[in-house]
């Protein structure tokens, strides 16, 4: 476009200075923001008025007061004499306890069922399909209430079921054998974790070197030293004890061992089975997304089946799997708030009790939202980082 005549040039300048689109855009923004601000201001002034009329103070000062609420299933030391802050922290730990363990178990179960769904065995794949369809099409809350009622219908502690020696299932929940954790044990565990991380880094280095010169390097001797021998040495040096304490029935209750309360156990089962149905579908479609030619090509090269799965199919499937998996993890965490329906005291349940005791509705709900937004953000950041790591690098 070459404009040579002075008249045309003048018109263009005029158009530029009076860009209609920009003005319309500006007006729209001002109007919309104005409406939103007006609504918020209106609601806020109403809230202030209502709160003062009901003599409810605003602000988070109430958090320092004595909570006076009992928490039955706390992992941290807690008594009703502690403050609301302490109660909230106990609640957050309870939420994380069910969410983290739930995510791990749901991933394992979901992956197994997703693979079963692809099995060439007709019976196995049909059963997996029925499992997925049944669990996905019934509300989670209904499933949770169902599991909880079943849990309450179990025999009393005296007549508890014993599927395996040392494991008791009764209306008091699930009791498992446990190892008492002392400081020495923690050190040993820390060493093993550090060894695992070191092994992971080492594996990457060995792989890059293998890619460079084609020589196969063994990893297992390092694994033996880092994860096996080193923690064992630390354990011997510190004299850590690993004797397993078996739970015993004394009177009406169990002594020793690790008890999962029926509320916690029901919530965990409901979350894990429900989410695993969704994860199974994600895993299935992820594996199906890898073209058949990739299998055929790997076979033609004469690679072993486990090697093909590990190094060729899974890395490609994971790229499809990770984003929807992230939203399932987020869903599980948010769904853990259904705990309030069976009386497991997670952060939502504790905020609800606080709300009823103090009337500080706005603050209590703001706290719930802050906790969940933080957890959601944490999970998304981690999964985005992981996703970026495994994503296809195009050259």
């Amino acid at each position: 476009m070459t404009t040579s005549t002075p008249e045309l040039r003048r018109r263009r300048q005029l158009r530029f200075s009076l860009n209609r689109q920009q003005i319309v855009g500006l007006v729209w923004q001002v109007v919309v923001v104005g409406i939103v601000v007006a609504i918020v201001a209106f609601l806020w002034s109403n809230a202030l008025h209502n709160l003062s009329a009901r003599r409810i103070s605003t602000g988070f000062a109430f958090l320092g007061r004595e909570a006076g609420m009992p928490i039955a299933d706390a992992w941290l030391a807690y008594s009703p004499k502690d403050t609301y802050v302490r109660a909230f922290i106990v609640g957050i730990v309870n939420t994380l306890r069910v969410a983290v363990i739930g995510i791990v178990l749901a991933t394992v179960l979901g992956t197994l069922i997703g693979i079963a769904r692809l099995s060439s065995n007709w019976l196995l794949s049909r059963l997996a399909a029925v499992y997925v369809e049944l669990l996905r099409d019934i509300p989670l809350l209904l499933q949770l209430l169902f599991w909880y009622v079943l849990m309450q219908g179990l025999p009393a502690a005296r007549a508890a079921w014993r599927p395996i020696e040392g494991v008791f299932l009764s209306n008091r929940g699930l009791v498992l054998p446990s190892v008492p954790i002392a400081e020495a044990n923690l050190w040993v565990i820390a060493t093993a974790v550090a060894g695992l991380i070191a092994l992971f880094v080492l594996r990457r280095q060995l792989m890059t070197r293998q890619e460079a010169d084609g020589k196969v390097r063994r990893l297992w001797p390092y694994a033996l030293v880092l994860v096996g021998a080193l923690p064992a040495l630390v354990s011997l040096g510190l004299g850590a004890s690993w004797t397993v304490t078996m739970p015993e029935l004394r009177g009406f209750n169990f002594v020793g061992g690790l008890t999962l309360a029926p509320e916690y156990f029901a919530l965990l089962i409901a979350l894990v089975t429900y989410t695993s149905a969704f994860i199974a579908e994600i895993v299935r479609s992820g594996i199906q997304a890898v073209p058949r030619g990739q299998w055929d090509a790997a076979n033609a090269l004469g690679l072993r089946r486990s090697f093909v799965l590990q190094r060729i199919v899974l890395p490609q499937a994971l790229r499809v799997i990770i984003p929807p998996m992230t939203s399932q993890y987020l869903n599980l965490t948010k769904n853990s708030s259904l705990a309030v329906a069976v009386g497991y005291q997670d952060v939502v349940s504790i905020a609800n009790t606080t709300l009823n005791q103090t009337g500080q509705a706005i603050e209590a709900i703001a706290l719930i939202m802050m906790v969940f937004l933080t957890i959601s953000l944490g999970i998304s950041l981690f999964m985005n980082w992981y996703n970026a790591r495994i994503a296809l690098v195009e050259r």
Binding site: S120, W122, L123, I287, Q288, K334
Partner: protein, 372 residues
């Protein structure tokens, strides 16, 4: 929401035994190929058959053989004597009216029943491709008015029934349907806003969507039941059901916005350019060119969102609104029937399952149609 297709079309390959062509009739060949293809496969089949057989036998024993089908009045002695061994289905004929319609006046319960049928007819009509026209909006409006008349009454000689007496299935359907009917346009506006070039509008939409999606639905429902009254001016008192409904509309709007945004992203850039070249205004461009294509792209994930949303309405139990799950839970407070909650929950689970299963089948069929 990932795409879901029919049974494994592409099972894990590498089962060399499958390619061997065995002799015998069709049944034998089928059994060999699908159940006894290899040693491992045969082992799995046998183990599963044994487990499945055991489970089925105990299920039939509990649910049919030892079950009690009716008891006289509230005399649940017969049920109690078989507790743990057999089901007490007698609880269903005793309580089904309450579970389905709550405390709605007993002799007027044909009205909520008719309302539920209207809902089902409405869903059915909306699922037909031949009805995907502008007139569908009118059909929806007419159906919702009809349901309002049936539920409230007060005209045409129907007695007035106030909202606090509604309960059961109609409440679940109302929460889900109105949530979607209002959440959908909201979702469209927010999805467009999130892709807008205007920074203030875009950030408002992002804030709204991320805030709602980042917190559990329960916290929104708590907000609706406890915080909402605080935000209202003096003298304004909004009904609890309506407050929950507003929370559901806001919730559905945020989730639907994300699905629709996915569809908007799938519309090629050229469509925008062509519409601009024709000199269409922003609203005409989106309403006539972009949105119809975008929504067609995302119909299967939209149906999946509807399913999730339908199940999520059950959460109103926690704030004490009488939906289907709450009436079920309340129906077994009665001491005579208290021990038989498993039977009641199974009954309600079947109802939820039928609705969700129908929707998920439908979404699968649509997907198969769009693929070819």
């Amino acid at each position: 929401m990932t795409s879901i297709s029919e049974a494994p079309q592409n099972p894990l390959p590498l089962n060399s035994a499958r390619s061997r062509q065995p002799g015998g009739g069709y049944v034998i060949r089928w059994l060999r190929a699908n159940l006894f293809a290899s040693v491992t496969s045969s082992l799995i089949t046998v183990i599963l058959m044994v487990l499945l057989g055991k489970a089925l036998i105990s299920l039939v024993q509990w649910g049919y053989w030892n079950a009690v089908w009716s008891v006289p009045g509230d005399q649940t002695g017969a049920c109690r004597s078989v507790r743990g061994l057999g089901a007490c289905w007698a609880v269903i004929p005793e309580k089904y009216r309450f579970i389905l319609f709550g405390t709605y006046p007993f002799d007027q319960q044909w009205r909520p029943a008719l309302a539920c049928l209207t809902f089902i007819a409405l869903f059915f009509v909306s699922s037909r491709r031949s009805f995907w026209r502008r007139e569908l909006v009118l059909i929806w409006a007419a159906a919702l008015v009809l349901i309002g008349i049936l539920m409230w009454g007060g005209i045409f000689g129907l007695t007035y029934v106030s909202q606090d007496r509604w309960g059961g299935l109609p409440v679940t359907l109302i929460l889900a349907t109105f949530g979607l009917a209002f959440g959908f346009p909201l979702g469209i506006v927010v999805a467009l806003g999130r892709r807008s070039k205007l920074p203030a509008i875009r950030s408002l939409c992002v804030l709204y969507v991320e805030l709602i999606r980042g917190v559990p639905l329960i916290s929104l429902l708590f907000m609706a039941s406890v915080m909402f009254p605080l935000f209202m001016p003096d003298g304004v008192n909004i009904d609890k059901l309506l407050r929950a409904q507003i929370a559901f509309v806001l919730f559905a709007g945020a989730y639907l916005a994300e699905v629709i945004r996915g569809g908007l992203q799938a519309v090629p850039r050229g469509q925008h350019d062509a519409a601009d070249a024709l000199g269409l205004s922003y609203w005409k461009k989106n309403g006539l060119i972009i949105l119809p294509q975008a929504i067609r792209h995302v119909i299967p994930p939209l149906v999946n969102t509807f399913i999730a949303f339908f199940k999520d309405t059950s959460l109103v139990l926690i704030i004490g609104i009488f939906d289907l799950l709450t009436t079920a839970k309340t129906s077994i407070i009665d001491p005579a029937w208290q021990p038989f909650s498993v039977e009641v929950y199974l009954f309600v689970a079947v109802i939820y399952f039928l609705f969700c299963f129908a929707m998920s089948r439908y979404s699968r069929r649509l997907e198969a149609q769009t693929r070819h």
